[in-house]
Amino acid sequence: MRKSSHIWTLLKFEFQKYFTRFNIAMLSALLLLNVTLTAYQYRNMVGEKRRSIEEAKDALIELYKTDREAYDKAYSSHLSEYEKYIDELYYGMSADDPGAMPTFKNKYIDCEGYGDIELFSDVDKIVKAPDTVRGGLISLLRDTASRLRETEGGTYSYRYYANLIERYGPVSEQNFEIGKTSGWNEFFSLKAPALLLAIALVSTLSGTFSWEEKTGFSCTLRTAKNGGAKLAAVKTVFIILTSAAVTVVFTLAPLAVTAMFCGLSSTAQKIQLLNGFSYCQYALTVGQYLLIYIAVRVVFFSATALLSASAAKLFGDEKPAFIALAALTVSGFLIGAIPQSSGLYFLQKFSVTELSGVNILFEKYRGLNIFGYCVDYTAFTITMLFVLFAAFAAGAIFFRPVAPKVYAERASALSHHSQSLLTTEFYKQLISERNIYILLAAIVVKCVVTAVYCSPNTGGAEAQYIKYIGEVSGEVTSEKLRIIDEEGEYINKSLSEYPAAEDDYKNGRITEEEFRRYQNRYNYAVYCRGAFDRLEERKNYLVSMSERYPTVGFIYEAGVEKYLSGPVDIAAVIAVAILGSSVFSCEHKHRFTPTLRIYRRGRRELFFAKLLYVLSLAAGLFAVFSLITAFFIRFYYGVDYLGAHIMSIPRFASTGLDMSIGEYLVLHGAVSFLGHILFFLLAASLSELAQDQIKAIVIIVIIAAVPYYISVSGISGLGLFDYVNMMTPGDIRQGAISYLSCFAAAVVLTVCAYAKWCRERSLRKKK
């Protein structure tokens, strides 16, 4: 048998091994979800109205191309009608007795929310796009040339400007055709659920090496002639081929949906005509960019799959792969939250969430300052991706699992250990199964994420606003209103007097010292204007509320706003998914279940001990995470107004709630606490029903991600089983149905898990 046929045979077996029914079903479900969510985002693109709009646009664009004179005439006519309409509108609004407001008479299209004004605006953008793009590029080149002349040679800046000119020169000389760019803008700006793709790949492929370690077959494999490095290489090829295929399918599926809903314009158009790509530094067509887009995604996600498989191989378990995926997701979030003013903002160029979307590499030319040299960011990043790809592939082939250490034991008498099922359960789950590391990592992530998220806005206007609030904090009184009014008058006077004072100074009517006084007051007014406007707005709001809620007051509620508007507590979600999925699956993993079920306390009592463990850990996790959040909120904002009425905060204006802020936070905390408990129960139940931790984690992540993703996509009427939002609730009044569904699902699954654990189970059929 030839060597190549060996490799092909081994490869075939890898496909048979890992494309199990579960994996195929899971990939199909994730793909369907991908397609459904994409289709939902285009829900407004179908229908008669949409078709009419596109036909109208096409007609005008065609007119522009074929009979420019006729188009110009139509456009001029429209403009003059539009000017007349604006005049009438202005007159109507400013008159004492406005009468009926004027309406614009549409000639070309008359749909609800879309008429001639919108039509000509859109068409104008399309027909002028080539000139706009070229104009922008030429302007950029001109500015760059000017800066280059003023910059010292041999520096990073000089090289950067020189590179800009070198790259954008040819790009600006391209011929840009007029035409719609339908479909491509939408497709490339899709917030494609890269997370779904990553979950699909990590779930399917992370066990490529570790599964055989866990079954104990790997030591036999390594003794086989083709079982060592050759098999590892075949497995690596399998991972690459599978991740490439899955990435292509997950990328082209939304493209097909886009084509169906929006239509796709010519792939021969220049990429610079697409939104966000006006300054793309390469002379590419849309079609060429599509190929590059897919290729970069394939490399990126193949590297992700290889990383997960290598990590699982090193540790003999897939859990590190999921932790690595979670860490990358969290890092993407953290980097995305870095403000532009921060010195670390450049890290956004290396955010995995941005890189998975590819566009960041081709939006515009970016340079990296490496030892004073200007290195092309796109070329550098793609090279690094390949390097990482190769490194992870090498790791997948050459990593050996870490062998467990055997320590020489000291001779000693028998120790007595606890006979509490609950205590032993804690030991088993956290120490024996090493889940304590997950918990500690989650706490660290929570601290970092919370610190970044809660860090305050340090701008001058914010500081002034805080000062203002500090001066009038507390319930609304006439004295405070007078202070505010006086401040307002002072500011207005300072602003209004300055021009005249400046004129007087120029003409010598006032001295320099006097002018400085006017100037200082003016500067103060300018500095405080923004903050004062906010204060005045708050004052007006509180005055309007004080009639019904007399105890409302001035508070600086940024801390509470941060708390209530917080993002998904991803650290908690991931911790619960991993810890919960281990509760019952560890018994099946160690094959101790048949013996366990014999013991007097091995069924019901043990089940309830595990349940108590779950409840305790969920409560503990909630408590620790809440403390962390409270610490940072207090550290940054010093929340001392919990007794103030909830209506002091404008976001609650329409709620009609009549309680203090502290009381609301207690309710909020109660919902969040319940969310933690229910999600943990769900995870633990699934660990018994799936009897495998990885399967349970995948199902848990899908249950958590899907409703959350649907809710942030704006789908109304759903929101069932949204555990993620229940753990970090927004407006708790609006989530009642979701909370009930979460409760029902958790209870039902817990009962099912109880029934399964305590009753019979079938042995697997022997084939």
Binding site: L414, S415, H417, Q419, S432, F592, Y599, R600, R603, K765
Partner: protein
């Protein structure tokens, strides 16, 4: 004390794993002998309520003569059980002693009793010097002995042991055999094995199981008696060994110590071959006589 199994039947799809298994078990050791796939593990899992039989009943009669269905007894029956499965699973990061303490908690033992029994059982299975070693670091034989230890902890009156000596060296097998023999005086012990020598001298009854059906059930000496006069020793040249192997059921072959060109064959046959002389049969001979050839099964009286 008595355990009655009546017409236990279990199928996995079209595969009939147990077909009307019936037995009455009193105190003593019962060996379940049979090849792989004969239904031994299925029967043990049914007795231990890990799976439910398709039909049939299992009843337990206590020392007062009260008889109850074990399913209805539920936890009261499981209290009396000690189970060592064929592939015992344990927690690799638990130490030996912590694991046994956990088992004692699961059995609901009193703390003082647990302390005493753990020490005793560790001594019985020769694991006293490694109480603090992690289970994952134990050798295969040590893990097997620990699995036996957890089965007997708490003094259950019914022990179900599936291949208890698998992976043990000869000395350890004797140790385990003697240990089981010692504790079985007032217990019902069912041992599933296909290592005949493990139970030959300790079993009260041997139940021969093939494809879910009992093909024989008697004390060892009775089974051996059935092939009295059917086991022979034949000394032949090496060159004739292949032909003899094709003609007779050869259960053993040993090179002649004095003449390297000759071998001594141990043969199972209904009639004495030429040149052969009868030798005392063993239980292993009977096992091979029953399971070695399907046609032979029909010859059992």
């Amino acid at each position: 004390m008595k355990l009655m199994l009546e017409k236990i039947t279990k199928s996995y799809g079209k595969n009939l794993a147990l077909d009307g298994f019936s037995a009455e078990l009193g105190p003593g050791i019962y060996a379940l002998l049979g090849p792989n796939g004969s239904g031994k593990s299925t029967l043990m899992n049914i007795i231990t309520d890990n799976i439910r039989a398709d039909s049939g009943t299992i009843t337990y009669t206590d020392d007062d003569g009260k008889t109850e269905d074990v399913i209805k007894m539920g936890v009261r029956f499981r209290e009396k059980l000690g189970f060592m499965p064929q592939y015992p699973g344990m927690y690799p990061n638990f130490t030996v002693e912590r694991f046994l303490w956990y088992v004692s908690a699961l059995r609901g033992m009193e703390r003082a009793d647990a302390a005493k029994e753990i020490e005793e059982v560790l001594a019985d299975v020769e694991l006293s010097d490694v109480p603090k070693r992690k289970i994952g670091a134990l050798s295969g034989g040590m893990r097997q002995r620990l699995a036996l230890a957890q089965a007997v902890l708490g003094g259950p009156s019914i022990l179900i042991l599936d291949e208890p000596t698998a992976g043990l060296d000869p000395r350890q097998r004797i140790l385990v055999r003697n240990f089981i023999s010692k504790i079985a005086l007032d217990k019902i012990v069912m041992i599933a094995t296909h290592v005949v020598s493990d139970i030959e001298f300790i079993a009260r009854d041997v139940i021969m199981l093939k494809k879910g059906v009992i093909v024989d059930n008697a004390p060892p000496h009775e089974l051996i008696g059935k092939i009295e006069g059917r086991v022979f020793s034949l000394d032949i040249p090496v060159s004739e060994a292949a032909e003899a192997g094709a003609r007779y059921r050869v259960t053993g072959m040993v090179r002649n110590e004095e003449d390297a060109d000759r071998v001594t064959l141990r043969i199972l046959a209904d009639a004495k071959p030429n040149g052969a002389y009868p030798v005392p049969p063993t239980l292993e001979d009977y096992y091979l006589y029953v399971f070695g050839d399907d046609e032979v099964c029909s010859k059992i009286p």
